[in-house]
């Protein structure tokens, strides 16, 4: 087995962990943790593919943009969390059930 397959296998495991966390958790913070783990796995996939195709510079350029995006996304998520906490005093997704159907 070559090293690329091994790397992607481990990346798949990390991504599975993140998705599992997002699936079972009800707390917004934990969902964000899961999201971070998933996006870390996606970054690893990108760099690994870049290294395999001898296209590391290109992959790096994409990664830098991705990191900038990730910061803003996480900041927006945390801002939503804090706003929700201030207005309703809860950090639990399923306690929000004003919408039905």
């Amino acid at each position: 087995m070559n090293s690329f397959a091994m790397e992607w296998y481990l990346i798949a495991l990390i991504m599975f962990t993140g998705f599992y966390c997002m699936l079972v958790s009800r707390s917004i913070v934990r969902q964000l943790v899961g999201l971070e783990i998933v996006s870390k796995a996606a970054m690893l996939a990108l760099i690994s593919a870049g290294a395999l195709a001898n296209n590391l510079i290109y992959a790096q350029a994409l990664l830098i943009t991705m990191i900038v995006i990730e910061v803003v996304v996480v900041a927006a998520g945390l801002a939503l969390l804090v706003k929700n906490f201030r207005l309703h005093g809860a950090a639990d997704i399923w306690k929000l059930d004003s919408l039905k159907g």
Partner: protein, 476 residues
């Protein structure tokens, strides 16, 4: 990136940065700046695409990919209606008024970026910007429903982005770059398409989640229903269509579904589209909230676009593009009218409303036009796009799909008739006693959009020429 359209991205961005400074002491200046920017953009676009010599020449001189131009026009049109409506809708004391307009401007810039780019990673970047602005817009009025909708949107669209990134990684590995052109060249060569279709499948899955097609539609009704009223029009009319459905149509044309490459993907997309049509329409039948019913109707209409994109023949792509435009027009009218109702009667619960036609005739009749267009009644614009889609299905020998699509177009008419009877016609309810028609500026966007619906329906031959130019350019 289409250089000719870059200004439509940069100018709103510039306006977004200027608005908070300009409006520090005079809050109304924020409304003026946002509206002027969008109106100027619209006037510019109208000159670019609709001047008499252009129409006479059959739109052959349209610069670049005519699809981008059409969508930039749609983005500006919907955003202009929304900002114009907001200028009179927003309560005086709203503390984040300037930020609200800035966010709309940034989302317009991001949508322009999405539709003018020619590279998958740049597409992803702008889609993320669009998503981030949407959350803040949804929660503008601090309601509990808004935050819930925003959070559900958040936790479904970003895992979808991770899937897209993995798809991009595989695409980068096998193609060496991420431009549309490379994929197009690759797909028209004879090299077996295995890994590229796998990458495209991952990306399509991500965009299907982002556009709220049926198995992944959990966030759509909540986000639309909970959103601040004018924002739900912005969101349903254009944002989710650009961030998800546009990419699906684009990938469908790049993968050349029409010449039989990637058949499995094409069939999968068509199935999801049909499922969306059926589930969305059936769910809309039993809703009691006006906005929630509109949200399910939106899911159902997106199904038509995805179905046509999955089929991928030139006629189907034409129908998909046209339906994308039509969906923006009629959904904007309906959501803006629901916002007017909310302002006039204080609720959008259909059981509490009734007989609203008497106090609010304009709102009632623009709704009728929009819903007839949604259901595909001739001679309104929605009829032509549905006709194109159903004809394309029939031509390709997919008789069952065509019949189901036609049947659920009738179901659409049914649930909208129920809605119209409950809300606008019938006996006057207590809400109708006290309500009064909203002011003229709040009606203007709905009337403008209804006029466009009727005009496009009646002037169909001209528009058909334009859409055919689009389909020819993006498929060949």
């Amino acid at each position: 990136m289409d250089k000719g359209l870059l200004a439509y991205l940069i100018i709103p961005l510039f306006a977004a940065v200027v608005i908070p400074f300009a409006a520090r002491n005079r809050p109304r200046l924020a409304d003026v700046l946002a509206n002027v920017t969008l109106l100027a953009g619209l006037a510019n676009l109208a000159w670019l695409a609709l001047r008499p010599s252009m129409i006479a020449g059959g739109f052959a001189d349209i610069p670049g990919d005519a699809f981008s131009l059409l969508l930039v026009g749609t983005v500006y049109l919907v955003a202009f209606c929304v900002t114009f409506f907001s200028a009179w809708f927003i309560e005086e004391g709203l503390p984040n008024r300037a930020a609200y307009y800035s966010l709309i401007m940034v989302s317009v810039a991001a949508m322009t970026g999405v539709v003018t780019t020619s590279d998958f990673f740049t597409l992803y970047v702008f889609v993320e910007v669009l998503a981030v602005t949407s959350f803040a817009l949804i929660t503008t009025d601090d309601s509990a429903g808004g935050i819930e909708g925003a959070l559900k949107y958040f936790f479904l669209t970003f895992p979808a982005s991770a899937l897209i990134i993995v798809g991009l990684a595989i695409l980068m590995m096998t193609l060496g770059s991420l431009s549309y052109e490379n994929l197009r060249i690759f797909m028209s060569s004879d090299i077996p398409a295995g890994p590229v279709t796998f990458a495209a499948a991952l990306m399509l899955l991500g965009f299907v989640i982002k556009s709220g097609v049926v198995p992944f539609h959990a966030w759509t009704p909540d986000a639309y229903q909970g959103a601040y009223a004018p924002v739900s029009a912005h969101l349903a009319g254009i944002v989710t269509k650009i961030s998800g459905v546009y990419a699906i149509v684009k990938i469908a044309t790049l993968l050349r579904f029409f010449d039989g490459r990637a058949v499995a993907l094409s069939e999968m997309l068509m199935f999801l589209g049909l499922l969306s049509i059926v589930v969305g329409a059936l769910a809309a039948l039993k809703q009691t909230s006006f906005k929630r019913m509109l949200a399910f109707s939106s899911i159902s209409q997106v199904g038509y676009i995805v179905l046509a994109a999955g089929l991928g023949t030139p006629l189907a792509i034409m129908g998909a593009v046209f339906h994308l435009f039509n969906h923006a027009t009629f959904k904007t009218v309906l959501f803006l009218n629901s916002a007017s109702l909310e302002k006039a009667a204080g609720t959008t619960d259909m059981d509490k409303l009734g007989g609203m036609e008497h106090p609010m005739p304009w709102t009632s009749w623009t709704s009728v036009i929009a819903l007839l267009s949604t259901a595909g009644v001739p001679p309104l614009s929605g009829f032509w796009s549905k006709l194109l889609i159903i004809l394309a299905l029939w031509e390709s020998g997919l008789r069952t799909y065509a019949v189901v699509a036609l049947l659920f177009s009738i179901v659409t008419l049914a649930y909208f008739m129920i809605m119209q009877r409950k809300v606008f016609f019938g006996r006057k309810s207590s809400a109708a006693q006290s309500a009064a028609e909203v002011s003229a500026p709040l009606l203007a966007p709905a009337v403008l959009m209804s006029a466009i619906i009727v005009a496009v329906g009646l002037l169909f031959p001209y528009f058909y020429t334009y859409v055919r130019v689009v389909a020819e350019r993006i498929i060949l």
